[in-house]
Symmetry: C2
Subunit: 414 residues, 2 copies
């Protein structure tokens, strides 16, 4: 008998029919003789609808009250899924984040899990029940409801798998696995049989969307094997584990991309140390994720600084910069929106110099101008004009032989 943690996302529980379908998936594992903990997200567009109401009421919604509001989404799902399981003759019991013992730090909107007190869940599992847990949410030591940020249900699932020493953590989504690139936009996209934690981390961080990066990090730290699979199709998914044993002949494993990127440039920043960190600390405090950062020295006294953010964070970023203008002493701020980020990812890059150069050449040949570049050991990211995003990814997908035929070859004819 094993202990399996299953996670079903918002689309998988989008309506009553789908919740019944999820119940069947859960029961399959139970009937294989496993103990099952199910982690679920809010139904379909519930979270978006709640955010919309909040925006109608308040221009700058309190993050504490937003957590209060959003945490209801998953609570609805756990109630309904437990009812579905009971209706189908299986003992089930639901847990909110706080009931499941998910303790987080005291940050609203984007809290990290500190630890999980699994006592209550274990007791119910031992009584033969299926534990249905609300993802995405937890409680601080003071009894405040927190949320883990978008995609946080993945993190809940992996953290629970770690805390319960689960044998497996299955992440059910609306796609059948992790692809070389997003199949919704790129025709030749192909499903990968396995990827390493680090590759997945880069892919997730870069907006591949299948898995929350913090969840992958958690899984890596606790060496929890993850399987990304479809909640609808019954086919093998993509395994995420320490070493991607297959497909090593692929230097580039995947191409991630996202639009709605804005480049912010600060002109005439004094060269004193501390100015930079001051600005980024302030942005971080406001939960704004700064991605690529480029600093260029113009003369001896001042520097220009560019960084990329999500366009959604632009207004808040400009607020923060406006407030710190006097203290930081810079000249002016310029922004360019309607940009996109395209990144190639693969562990094979480390031992293959020239991959970045090849990427730039492909983009140049396609007439795509590169606005910003950032590299790490297993990825190269470029910021380009959003309009060119899909054609750039398509060109790279072919150039790095990720399109269907080439990839099948690389996998030895599978």
């Amino acid at each position: 008998m094993g202990l399996i943690v299953q996670k079903f996302g918002g689309t998988s529980v989008g309506n009553v029919e789908r919740i019944n379908n999820v119940a069947n998936r859960v029961i399959e594992e139970v009937e294989h003789g496993n103990q099952v903990v199910v982690v679920v997200s809010a139904m379909g567009k519930t979270t978006d609808k709640l955010v919309e109401m909040a925006k109608e009421i308040s221009s700058t919604s309190s993050k504490r009250e937003m957590d209060m509001l959003l945490a209801t989404g998953e609570q609805v799902t756990i109630g309904l899924l437990s009812m579905a399981l009971l209706q189908k003759g299986h003992e089930a019991i639901s847990f909110t984040g706080w009931q499941a013992g998910v303790r987080t730090e005291s940050v609203h909107g984007n809290a990290r899990i500190m630890d999980i007190d699994t006592l209550k869940i274990k007791k119910q599992l031992e009584m033969g029940k299926i534990a249905v847990v609300a993802g995405f949410q937890g409680m601080t030591a003071d009894g405040e409801i927190t949320t883990l940020g978008r995609g946080g249900s993945d993190t809940t699932a992996v953290a629970l798998a770690a805390a319960l020493s689960a044998d497996r953590c299955d992440i059910y989504t609306d796609v059948t696995g992790v692809f070389t690139t997003d199949p919704r936009y790129i025709k030749g996209a192909r499903k990968l049989k396995s990827v390493s934690y680090d590759e997945m981390l880069e892919l997730a961080n870069l907006g591949a969307g299948v898995l929350h990066p913090r969840a992958v990090e958690f899984a890596k730290n606790f060496q929890i094997p993850l399987e990304v699979r479809s909640s609808i199709e019954k086919e093998t998914g993509t395994l995420i584990e320490e070493e991607a044993t297959m497909e090593q002949s692929l230097i580039v494993r995947g191409i991630a991309f996202e639009d709605k990127i804005t480049r912010v440039t600060i002109f005439g920043l004094p060269g004193t140390s501390g100015t930079l960190s001051g600005i980024f600390t302030l942005l971080a405090k406001n939960q704004i994720n700064v991605d690529i950062i480029i600093q260029s020295i113009t003369d001896e006294q001042t520097t220009n600084l560019s960084f990329s953010i999500k366009t959604d964070d632009l207004e808040e970023t400009l607020d923060v910069l406006e407030h710190s203008k006097d203290k930081a002493g810079f000249d002016r701020v310029e922004t360019e929106s309607k940009l996109a980020k395209v990144s190639i990812v693969g562990s094979g890059m480390v031992s293959n110099p020239g991959v970045a150069a090849e990427m730039f050449e492909v983009l140049s040949d396609s007439g795509v101008q590169i606005k910003m570049v950032s590299t790490s050991e297993i990825k190269v990211s470029t910021v380009i004009i959003a309009e060119h995003m899909v054609e750039a990814v398509e060109a790279l997908h072919v150039a790095f032989r990720l399109d269907e035929r080439a990839a099948v070859q690389a996998l030895g004819g599978r």
Copy 2:
């Protein structure tokens, strides 16, 4: 400086605009220099929608999971109302039932409040904040989420007022006060300036719908003055307090009525003591409220027993009876639905014999057949065919001089 508890029902917080309106009402009290605790229900038809989804999934929904599901409704409202108050420049903080320290017994779907640990709320009030509390819900000693049953938000408000020694508890509704009878159906219905707890208790119990009976009981026990007022119209409401000082010239203060009543008759029940209590204990355990009970002896060995229930509870009642048939040893069960209950209420009845007789005469003159009768010191209830309900109430309303002109006279020309 006083401490006011305000309660706003589902209609009052039905949409974003109305929530903003409620925020303004709250701020008015704050600007009068009062500390304010606001108790709110779920938005509009939220609870009904959740119940509907549950019914789609499960024919006999687990009461625990139903509580898990329904408790989300108020949690959405407290988040949004707090945001609205913050947006309008007032410090506010929301509390779920469990965060507010509302401890209940371990019954799902219809729990009673055991006590309230007001420590957290008091702390926030002292810091100058408005406390926004989710009505209708609480937590057991085991950390289980419970709900107080429909209308339970009233109970939360009164219990909080008692626990906090509040100066007043204002119940805001979609009506402007307590009426002589339901103004939605009866044209001559007139607003009362005050009623006693006992009268209100009978009116509430009889389905007048304005206030939850448990809330009135709570208020009576702790002598909390309640004011029922409109959340939209700015006019004086109805005060509920120990002695209804005004309007004493009215023998009958109000007429309550509700349809969807079913009469259940058990034939051939053995005359052994214990049989009766056994059946009613079982019904009570299943949270079925039995109202009027009539027992008639047919011969020396057996009795027939009739009682009235809400038609919604019929299926469950028949289940319970079916299961206890062998043990109780009765012959058969018959039911009659499409009935209604009409009751006259007033403290003045105690000292006025013949009020019941007058009621029966009025009904008889209107050609309305009486199926069941029950009397107490301050009310007379009759069960009649639902089809005749409105005409019966109209006839009684006029006969007992509750219609507008007569009532104004009785109040000394007010």
